[in-house]
């Protein structure tokens, strides 16, 4: 009955009673309970002793502004990077000469250099290409969206490529054998499955996109970390803005998790019973 997990040597299976399923289960329950208790205690202690509620009220509107700004940047970057990523993914699976190579080069560049570097290139580099004054006011926001889009399109593109690759060849063959064109087979048969296959990876990437907005502090976008730094340097109080920072990020990442799970459930297609 009880499986031994001390699987090195069968001659030494003396202690089946110690590391069996039940013991492991209870060790897990004990550790995770202790961990949860510890976290609650720590957070309770911090809120009770380190958080200044007057300051919290004062800075709250600034965090709301930052939250809304990050939300807007995320929504723009998310839609644009998924749309662009679909094209990158198509390019990656294309067998025609320049298309595949260009898509490959794109992905190698944007995954092979730090996002911070790409933000710097776009924010500082592009305006410097103009001989006169750069025509776009408040360039940091468009630059931020462009950098996040270009960077995450590479990751979304790879997710889509993987999703297409995981659709069995027989699917397209079946579509073609029914008289569907290549385009119809792609649109009606391959892509819906590729999308489902890629959804988890795209969801992960979009969570990272949210967190990547914190890098925008280096180009003076008044996002969440920027507000934290400004409050902290003015008041020398770390914990009050830290609490709001955590709430602001989770206020975007957690709802995104629900959206991704909803999309996954919607393409469950009768469950994975086989």
């Amino acid at each position: 009955m009880a499986e031994s997990y001390s699987g090195e040597s069968t001659s030494e299976r003396v202690d089946e009673s110690v590391l069996n399923d039940r013991t492991l289960k209870w060790i897990g329950v004990a550790i995770s309970s202790l961990f949860t208790l510890g976290i609650f205690a720590l957070v309770g202690y911090i809120i009770a002793t380190k958080v200044n509620f007057e300051l919290l009220q004062t800075i709250f509107p600034r965090f709301v502004d930052a939250y809304l700004l990050v939300l807007r940047i995320f929504l723009m970057g998310s839609v644009l990077s998924v749309v662009a990523g679909v094209f990158v993914g198509f390019g990656r699976v294309s067998s025609t000469f320049p298309t595949g190579a260009v898509a490959r080069g794109y992905v190698e560049f944007f995954r092979g250099t730090p996002l911070l570097f790409q933000i710097i290139v776009i924010y500082f580099g592009i305006p410097a290409l103009w001989s006169g004054t750069f025509p776009i006011q408040d360039w940091e926001i468009p630059a931020a969206i462009i950098a996040l889009t270009l960077n995450h399109a590479a990751y979304v593109g790879e997710a889509i490529r993987g999703g297409i690759g995981a659709v069995p060849e027989g699917q397209m063959e079946a579509a073609r054998s029914l008289g569907m064109s290549y385009t119809q087979g792609m649109r009606e048969v391959v892509l819906p499955q590729a999308w489902r296959n890629a959804l988890a990876a795209i969801g992960n990437d979009q969570v990272i996109l949210i967190k990547d907005t914190s890098l925008l502090t280096v180009i003076a976008v008044p996002e969440i970390i920027s507000v934290f730094r400004s409050v902290n340097s003015a008041t020398f109080d770390p914990w009050t803005p830290i609490v709001l920072t955590a709430v602001a990020y989770l206020g975007i990442t957690l709802p995104l998790g629900f959206v991704v799970r909803y999309l996954e459930d919607r393409s469950d297609w009768g469950g994975d019973s086989q």
Binding site: A174, L178, G179, W269
Partner: protein, 242 residues
């Protein structure tokens, strides 16, 4: 003129010569069973007949129209050649009913209502009307394969191609699929069937073809094929099979 004609067909995969100068005429309503050892070119023969593979020499004609000509309207011609695969290849994101209505609505422009009506009739024919709204992974292998047959029939093909359609099934599910194929044959469908089911070949086939090394080495009605074949290859093949 026969319904489906292979005329001097050569097929190469790179250097490998897989079909060698195949001449074969299949008459309307004929059930032609193709047997032969692994790698002899049976699947390739079927796949060339709806141009999932290109041929290098010769011509394949359906009802007098070339399937293999470079300018053939391949999407149109494929509608007239139904194909059923060993691995079913149902569309997992569509219900049984949607699997069947997809091609008629998208390719033929049939109205949705009308396509659904027809799909229900076809599902009833293969004994699965109760499963119309099930997704493929809620169906057994035998049920999936019957839906795949109904899906191919929905395009009103002139010929149906079956490539080892029971080989991936648990033994107890083979019978229900062969039963549907038998009904089709009795209804007058022209069929090419690659199979290892010798009882089916004997009872349903009008004609048995034995392939070996890319050649057709024996072509005879079942009676003669199983009892008195001409070729040595057929004799040795049968002695191993039976």
């Amino acid at each position: 003129m026969s319904l489906l004609e292979f005329d001097g067909v050569d097929k190469y995969y790179g250097e490998t010569h897989v079909l060698k100068d195949i001449d074969l005429d299949i008459e309307a309503q004929e059930v032609c069973v193709v047997i032969g050892p692994s790698g002899s070119g049976k699947s390739t023969l079927l796949r060339c007949a709806n141009r999932l593979e290109e041929i290098q020499n010769g011509e394949i004609r359906l009802d007098g129209q070339s399937l293999s000509a470079p300018n053939a309207d391949i999407n149109y011609l494929r509608q007239q050649v139904g194909m059923v695969f060993q691995s079913f290849n149902l569309f997992p994101h569509k219900t049984a009913l949607e699997n069947i209505t997809l091609a008629p609505t998208k390719v033929r422009g049939v109205k949705k209502k009308q396509a659904q009506q027809r799909a229900h009739d076809l599902l009833a024919d293969v004994g699965l009307d109760a499963q119309a709204d099930s997704y493929p992974n809620q169906l057994s292998g035998g049920q999936q394969q019957r839906v795949a047959i109904a899906r191919a029939l929905a395009m009103d093909p002139k010929v149906m191609l079956f490539d080892e359609v029971t080989s991936a099934l648990d033994p107890e599910l083979v019978g229900e699929v062969l039963g549907v194929m038998r009904d089709l044959a009795e209804g007058g469908m022209t069929m090419m069937v690659v199979t290892h089911e010798m009882d089916f070949a004997r009872e349903v086939g009008d004609r048995i073809i034995l392939m070996a090394d890319g050649h057709i080495v024996e072509d005879a009605p079942p009676e003669k094929f199983f009892n008195d074949p001409d070729s040595e290859r057929a004799k040795t093949f049968l002695s191993k099979m039976l």
